[in-house]
């Protein structure tokens, strides 16, 4: 997946075998990332964007990507910031010093969730086995990010390319999410 957004950030975990590998569908475990939860008021956004390296998106459900950075809109005052795993310390310190006196909350949530990369022609179909959201390109264009529910687990879905999605779930829920995806995909292949 070299063509998608943040392809320098979201990479398949080289050490893990693919969860699913079919002709037009693959599910790969993503390598670990630095994830920061950032909450602040509007007045802090400019400084936060400068300190982080990419501007924080203010349009609902959108994302901004830059050189090894991604900022995802989670709510009107909440963002998830992504960076390479080994840059946690430096990004954190840069943000804290750049924000100065702005009231804000910056929390390291890197270990909270795992990500999988879902790609292929049937990716939308597969997601819709557990999510009631319209994933057509008009309603959910590339770059859109949304938190939602997959069957019974809260997940975050980020469209990084037309046929590629990053799906994040809490670590302890990931077996449930990826297991159900793999099972549904195998049933599709059998059908």
């Amino acid at each position: 997946m070299s063509d998608g957004l943040a392809s320098d950030l979201i990479t398949p975990d080289a050490g893990a075998s693919p969860l699913l590998n079919q002709n037009d569908l693959s599910i790969l475990k993503a390598s670990p990332l630095t994830r920061l939860s950032f909450r602040a008021r509007e007045t802090a956004l400019n400084d936060a964007g400068t300190a982080f390296g990419v501007p924080l998106p203010v349009k609902p459900l959108s994302s901004e990507t830059g050189d090894k950075r991604a900022a995802l809109w989670m709510g009107p005052d909440e963002w998830t910031l992504l960076a390479p795993e080994d840059e946690l310390q430096s990004v954190f310190e840069q943000m804290e010093s750049g924000l100065g006196a702005h009231p804000h909350a910056l929390v390291d949530i890197s270990e909270r969730s795992d990500a999988i990369i879902l790609s292929g022609k049937k990716a939308v179909w597969l997601l819709n086995t557990g999510i009631f959201i319209d994933f057509s390109l008009e309603a959910f264009p590339v770059g859109t990010v949304a938190r939602t529910v997959f069957h019974k687990s809260p997940v975050m879905v980020w469209r990084v390319a037309e046929e590629t999605f990053v799906v994040e779930a809490w670590v302890s829920f990931m077996d449930y999410v990826s297991g159900l995806l793999v099972q549904s995909a195998q049933e599709l292949e059998a059908a």
């Binding site: 609902p60 459900l61 989670m74 709510g75 009107p76 909440e78 009631f132 959201i133 949304a146 938190r147 939602t148 529910v149 809260p154």
Partner: protein, 101 residues
Amino acid sequence: MLLVYCPYCGVSRPETEFSCRGEAHIARPADPSQTSDEDWVNFLYMRSNSKGVYVERWRHIHGCGRFFNAVRNTVSDEFLKFYKTGEPMPDLEELAKEAGK
């Protein structure tokens, strides 16, 4: 399943992403120590629970996490209006009339 519009995300999402938190626009007594027991009871437990057009607080808990208000017809389950927290309560009679057209 109900489709609920989140005024913060600007999209309609399935009901499973939301939770309903009861009647909206119930103000907490401004001066609790001066409030009589009866007024506390009214604030804590008494709801209008009316049949027809009803104002509710909803939360987009599996999305942006925000609270917002919605006007719902409790008979037909049809939503008449969604608006952000802090915005004034709309004229319910007028909404009901418009919907009845």
